[in-house]
Subunit: 456 residues, 4 copies
């Protein structure tokens, strides 16, 4: 029996391939899904079912894409009017995969259509072996319950408590859990970076499972999490189906002159995917800086789904990752990239700018000077763990909407944890015409390393 | 936190790389161990300790090799006078790896120096998280207890029972277990092909854990397992240290004429690593047929450690696997391989032979004819699950010693499960001058598929 | 300036990528042509033109496929009514690619639409630098002139002589030539295995260029070359356009039962792509044996374009080569392959057969016995260099048509150069019900290595 | 027959592998030479000879390294007292490689021990086929003749003229030439970027071959080429033998704290191998910036052979290229690299600096301001093709020696062709305490693209 976890890096999304040697299932496939078909081929097994734990909101699910390659049946909850898929299931429904028996548990809370899948091998034991917990239970955390809006938050939290305590925990301490997300996902508040766990270990170590119902709901409702605008698009795709990848245009290598021409097309945005230090050194005016790993989520904050996207990358081969990341979150419109890189642009005498940067000690001296505005562009949850006195709290994803209020005649520094989101923030400000903008390289991490004071 | 299982295919040996993000350990590394150093480099962590669960008998442990690359400390039991290593430990000893606390449990039984390693993350919980169970507990089975000889068998089985019930099971149902072997290993009797488990699931599903002490010991002692001759060499290597791989000569590509010349060197053996059907089609006289995956164990039955080894492979690139497999079990003396393959040999007009093969239905007709001797070269445990009436039970590894007794004037067919070991058996017979020798392609599996009768 | 030769192995077809650093051309692309687009991307240049030297008859040209990826213009002769392409050109037409100037020379002979492309760099010299010679001039040989039928043969040979002596040789000794085929191609009679040459070296070393017109024509007309049936299909594809590869179904991994079911579909053929020794050891009844490299040409002799094709391969990864080879010669209908290989088939107890093989010395003894028929399935040109006394000359591609005449009550051995085509021949006979069929492993090469007599 | 050109990128050095199908030669192997052995293995041929065209001065020759893998004989000129090698040869000496006959031509000029190797295939023609021209004749240029000092320059140029006109050109227009260097090499003045040529084409297009003796010598002597200090070390290695690569320590991944500690070791230098824009954005104080490709030559200007070297790279995998490049030019002492990259350094709060950069238009405005000093750090030959009015000519390799004369109280900008060497120059100045230092990103190329005035 083989169980492979396939991580979509950046998204911190986990999908799974489980085979008993004769048949296989895939749980929550990602959109670029050739690798599941390859696994099945390698093991000489048929993928019989594609199981969805719920209508995902943070990425385009690859069920249709994978079905197109393998003829597997798609299984999901009967709670939603999906426009695709062969099996709508409910609590207690079972199906057979080789020697394995798989049972659906209806576990509403994160969403109303959430399903966990329990796996048994009756040849070995009538006891369950493992459970795919979707966004219901993570290592060290539980699913967020705010996606139906703040009015429904309390009700969803109560449902989740019930699902956890009446459906999942009673399965027994000995089950390994395979959740849909790992550390860093936007679908949980504080998921552990442990890549493995059991129900028993979670019962002992997961802070959310130690709370009684009242405390659980209170704490859930108190969490202020972010909802990136692209979630709407995902919900639509994952209910009605997204286009197949082979129908999406392949990004083109563009030379300096083609790139310059395309930049001027209406509704076009240039994303510079280099690391913030390199971006700071020289960049194309009006480009936004999103470092490579950040492409798994931040386009969802700053790009409209219809925009034509152009890329500047450190290396040509980075486009592989660029494509995977953007396609996974539904941005199908990458027109091309600057084939010669920023060097070719510079050598052609095209306009470049540079971004001022600060190290933590330089920041300290500037702040002591008094005139500088410091924007802390981290998430609220990070802010709560400590910030620099005098900083303003503006999450980077909210910056476009909140820029109006910022003065244009004073220096502004953008700070995050290490300097990546800070650079995105700074590039947003520069694009909007702010002149004296700084990014703090090393961010709060270097500030703390140097022992400078933080407030809470 | 990252935990990677690295399997040595064929051997069904598991080693592990565990990192908390700042420091790492490797448990029971294999001999070709660059990949652990690469993992550490990729994660930017230092390998602090190399942990050995016991003096392994079925492969050359890579501790010294890995230490040579990384400066990590080697940890093993104080029960044996190891000639290398920095830390001799005993029951209850602990050490710190980043945020993790690792505790040694002394679990004699499989060997007297067996150690299991329990991992805790005190930041999360005082409860243990996982346990590396070495050859003490597997998925679906427990370690063999016969390695100290039949006289000591009962005593070792009693110790193992105690280790399991007093040390391992009390850790709690919720621990994931990470054993040193998977399905197919010679270190267990009937290890499950599940690649994951927990103490709780084993308690429910592992047949050996359902027995009381008396039954456990009785069943252990009743198991007749095989001890390949090369185990002695491994025990020596793993107590005193094996040569570094960089000190071992690299196998050379040889043309037909060089190969022919080397074949005639004293104490030289030719191994043909093609699949048995291809071997049957045409082979070099006096060569032994061990299919690629079989190289992980069968050289240990039929080669002396001092012999010069020559290889015929299906493809040049197969030599990568050949080298890894032989080096892992301590055969350092691969002189070279036939670069042009068997085709070049044939085209040069060099002598070839072919081996007669039988499908299951042809075998049936031949047996009905009456003159043919059928050797069942499988393990005793496989034999017990059913054999063909009239077959003689001779394990392939014991064949060289038992050939004397076989008549040379009657046709002999060699059968195993699917035809691989059968071909090795047939090639041993041919090498020894038997004339009319058959291998049954498809073996007992095809016999059963056709619904032919078996006895028990 | 970069010039890359891309060889289609097996076909011995050469295509070329030439870039001056700003723009590029591709000459005679093959059908699986992503690699040209990758080269352009790597060099950051645009492919401006795709040049065809003539309507090829031995493979599907990739012009449309590549245009679909790159927007390059397609250039070919105005002598044929191509259904695709942007530029129909004639003698002396020129075009500019970056700093390079390319001139078309009309060189009829091999076909009436044959074009050679001369490249100059006016910045360096007004003298030509290199010439792409298509099927007009090869290293050590010239293009075949029999493709318009035997009636036209002499006329075409005269045209070719003229093209060579009035168009190509006058360009000067110093030009490097880049022909469309290398050693082993069916488009030449005896192409050298030199992968490079110049006009001057050919003038000195190419036997065809040393002849005067009369001798040249006489020798050309005397050559009896083979015309595989699939050439017709290629001519149609290369005049009217072939389907894009993305429109062709991807071969599926099939398990034993699916494979067995598909085998029984009407108009289905099973190709076993293992080497002849392995095929001989065990094969599925009624399958044809074409070794991997042979798939570049022999399907064109034995498969109809409409047949559903199933494959047995040594390894799963061989399907990459299988697909490339069959698609290059226009067989788009590969339904699937036996995922578990022949081993899985055997283990399931499905019927297998084996093929008798002979080494050269065994053949000799058999022939001395008198009853055996020996079919020499090599090309006529190989036969003329020497054969075994008493052999019958039947080219393997003609065997299906000539089987009628063979006696079914005598043993038949099939021999070629080394045993590959011999095995195809033997499998054709077995498929047609011949019972006692042998393949000679090592073929004529081993016969000669052993010093046995040959006749001429 | 196979001929592969293996380029050592950066060095623009060509080595060659030539096989006739049974035996092979390698001409001028590079130091990291496993790939030649792999080629031989792939073709199943023996490398019989390793041919050196002369004692190279710009890289460590891999002859001994390759001999160690393959047992091939080493061949070089009898004019020098080599401490290794089996064959010392002179003009007209021949040797046999399979079907090929190879003749040595003594062609002094570049060095006194220069040999060209002419290849014939007597089976095809008595005429020569190709010639390996070493540093005697390049595409578009000839070898430099200044290496024995300015006093000997005229004499060497005369010898070279004679070698070219009496030995090489008479071989015939039809020979393809395979020189030891391509465009960008320091061993020629203006080598073409054509990767192929013939004697005939060179006779027509090579400006040096159109000159009579007097003009040839005059022009040769007038060329002012650079002699990097590391040439001395190469000459020693290539006469007496360099250490084997397996004897050289492997660079270690270092964390921030280890790296910081090692930086402080005596005689240690930090090389930052990122592109100049990224370096400018943030760098470790006192590090030198040599972009990746520049590592093939610039360490030879700025590093002493005994120094301990530490690296900062953009990505971990860049260390592969770093090692190859430095080892090829004899720097064996790479201690380690910053595993977490500059990001880890920044996040740890360690000191960083940034370098001011200018685009061409910013430079123009600054120059108009009047106070700025502009250092043109390009080679003299580039300077002669045009420079910015007022610039000072100081080659980057000579900057350390000429820094004394520069004022420390004025802003200094460093400019090269595109900004790479400019950044090295700027980093040298910063390391030496200059405060206001700028690098011009885009360099002269962007200056010219913008149409700004240049002088000659």
């Amino acid at each position: 029996m083989i169980l492979k976890r396939i991580e979509s890096e950046g998204l911190a999304h986990n999908s799974y391939f489980l085979s008993d040697g004769s048949e296989a299932i895939v749980v929550d496939p990602r959109r670029d899904c050739l690798l599941y078909a390859k696994l099945a081929e390698q093991e000489c097994v048929k993928i019989k079912y594609i199981l969805e734990t719920h209508r995902n909101e943070d990425y385009v699910i690859g069920s249709i894409e994978l079905q197109n390659m393998t003829d597997a049946d798609i299984v999901h909850s009967k709670e939603l009017p999906f426009k695709y898929g062969e099996h709508r299931i409910g609590d207690g429904d079972t199906f057979i995969v080789g020697d394995l028996k798989i049972e659906a548990l209806w576990t509403p809370g994160h969403t109303d259509d959430s399903i966990c899948y329990v796996v048994r091998n009756p040849n070995e034991s009538s006891e369950p072996m493992i459970v795919f917990t979707g966004d219901t239970l993570f290592a060290g955390d539980v699913g967020r319950t705010d996606l139906y809006g703040l009015d429904a938050h309390q009700g969803q939290a109560e449902k989740l408590y019930q699902s956890l305590h009446e459906k999942i925990l009673p399965l027994g301490d000995h089950l390994q859990i395979y959740p849909a997300h790992g550390s860093g996902s936007v679908c949980g508040h504080d998921i552990s970076d442990r890549e493995f766990s059991t129900i028993g270990y979670e019962r002992k170590a997961n802070p959310m499972l130690k709370l009684d119902k009242e405390a659980f709901v209170k704490r859930s409702v108190a969490q202020r999490m972010l909802v990136p605008p692209y979630f709407r698009m995902m919900e639509d795709y994952n209910l009605n189906g997204a286009p197949l990848l082979c129908e999406i245009p392949v990004p083109k290598p563009l030379d300096v002159f083609e790139f310059e021409k395309e930049m001027k097309s209406p509704d076009t945005v240039v994303i510079d995917a280099r690391e913030p230090g390199a971006f700071a050194g020289s960049f194309i005016p009006y480009s936004l800086n999103i470092w490579l790993e950040g492409l798994s989520i931040f386009p969802g904050w700053v790009l409209n789904s219809g925009q034509q996207i152009l890329f500047v990358t450190e290396r040509k081969e980075d486009m592989r990752m660029v494509k995977a990341y953007l396609w996974r979150i539904g941005y199908n419109n990458i027109h091309g990239y600057l084939c010669s890189g920023i060097q070719g642009w510079r050598n052609a005498g095209k306009p470049i700018e540079h971004l001022d940067t600060l190290s933590a000690d330089m920041l300290k001296r500037k702040l002591d000077g008094g005139r500088m505005i410091l924007l802390d562009v981290r998430q609220p949850s990070e802010w709560e763990e400590g910030y620099i006195a005098g900083a303003e709290k503006v999450y980077v994803g909210h910056l476009p909407a909140k820029m109006e209020a910022l003065p244009r005649d004073r220096p502004i520094a953008s700070i995050c944890s290490v300097g990546n989101r800070g650079s995105l923030g700074a590039s947003i400000l520069r694009k909007s015409g702010f002149k004296e903008v700084y990014n703090v390289l090393g961010g709060m991490e270097s500030w703390k390393s140097l022992g400078y004071p933080i407030e809470k």
